[in-house]
Amino acid sequence: MTPRRKRMWIIALCVLGVGIAVALILTAFNQNLMYFYSPSEVARGEAPGNRAFRLGGMVVKGSVERGDAKDLTVRFKVTDFAQERAIAYRGILPDLFREGQGIVAIGQLDAQGVFVASEVLAKHDEKYMPPEVAQALKDGQASKAAQP
């Protein structure tokens, strides 16, 4: 084996070794790398009960209830299309917060199983289009729904 070939093998093995080590570490810490829990995971009791965690999901259409002038609490539900979870939040919602939009909330479950959020972040999706196209898509879906 020439020295050059030897160096090639040493480098290849080092990169492979580091790759395997990192893959094992990431697998071991998989749960900690998840940025948020889904409503299904919360329903299965996988989320921590005694400390704050993040809950992510889609805001259920028609579920947003804003409180009156004295009570600024916003109540809504999030879903992962399998389970739903009620969220109560007092504070300023981000611009992109709307029904049907993905969000991530930070908070804790109360005794009734309602997720009391201290912060709500909007999760943007990867779709970009002009308003006219979005409107056309919406109209297309509405006409499809209208047909029997």
């Binding site: 050059r4 160096r7 090639m8 480098i11 080092c14 990169v15 580091v18 790759g19 990192v22 990431l26 998989n30 790398l33 998840m34 940025y35 948020f36 889904s38 992510g56 300023i92 919602l93 981000p94 611009d95 992109l96 991530v104 912060e119 709500v120 972040l121 909007a122 999760k123 943007h124 999706d125 990867e126 779709k127 970009y128 289009m129 002009p130 308003p131 006219e132 196209v133 979005a134 409107q135």
Partner: protein
């Protein structure tokens, strides 16, 4: 296979002379593509249906993030070639990549943060995508530091190349982080295997901006490599002659 013919191109003197004609072309391509991409992206592209005009920051953010990974792979490949074949030119290329890549990474992090505040509602979160991109910045800084840490330039290049190669494991992590784990950062908009989920009028300026960043990288890398070559070979007769010719021309 015999690669002896490549030695000519790997020689610092030949590379310096050959690259001379390339630089003005790359500079012109960079300027033209930036002009097209910036006007197309910031003025002509339609506004987004949800984000309005704020989405336009992606015309800087996406190319910068893409380049942060592209430059890293270039740096690591050049570092590997430098370690295996002990080519001076590869050492110089690997060293010249590091500050450029660090700047692209920094730009991606800053523009993402500026976009994140109004859209997500926060400047920064420790999700897998953002954290792995921050680690990439630290890897670049480590490579820069290792290159400068040793008095012997070639020993420094070897140390930097080793870190660059080890850090390459971070590149697939950055790319797939949005698929492997739940993250606040959205998934990929433009991918090779499926139809991009972006309107064509918004996509074209984005692709132009990515090519503009690519050309800018190639141009500035070449300029850096050329000046490094002169410094590296400053005692060689061809550089002395070059110096004398410039003196005479003045």
């Amino acid at each position: 296979m015999n690669f002896a013919f490549l030695h000519k191109y790997a020689s610092l003197m030949h590379f310096y002379r050959l690259s001379h004609t390339l630089t003005p072309w790359l500079a012109a391509a960079t300027l033209a593509l930036f002009a097209w991409g910036l006007v197309g992206g910031l003025l002509l592209a339609p506004t987004d249906y949800q984000q309005g005009d704020s989405f336009r920051i992606m015309y800087v953010h996406v190319p910068a993030a893409w380049m942060s990974m592209f430059v890293y792979v270039t740096m690591a490949v050049a570092g590997g070639v430098a370690l295996i074949w002990k080519l001076k030119l590869a050492e110089i290329v690997s060293r010249a990549c590091a500050p450029l890549g660090a700047s692209f990474t920094f730009l991606a992090l800053v523009t993402g943060s500026i976009w994140g505040k109004p859209m997500w509602g926060t400047w920064w979160v420790w999700d897998a995508r953002l954290t792995s991109e921050l680690i990439l910045l630290f890897l670049y800084l480590g490579v820069i530091a290792l290159h400068g840490a040793l008095d012997d330039r070639r020993a420094g290049a070897r140390a930097g190349a080793v870190l660059a190669l080890i850090g390459v494991v971070n590149i697939p992590i950055i790319h797939f982080s949005v698929e492997w784990w739940s993250t606040l950062h959205q998934g990929a908009t433009v991918s090779k295997f499926s139809k991009p989920s972006i309107h064509i009028d918004m996509l074209i300026p984005l692709l132009v901006m990515i090519s503009a960043f690519q050309c800018y990288f190639a141009w500035s890398l070449l300029v850096r490599v050329r000046s490094e070559i002169l410094d590296y070979d400053r005692n060689a007769s061809w550089v002395r002659e070059l110096g004398r010719a410039q003196e005479a021309g003045r």
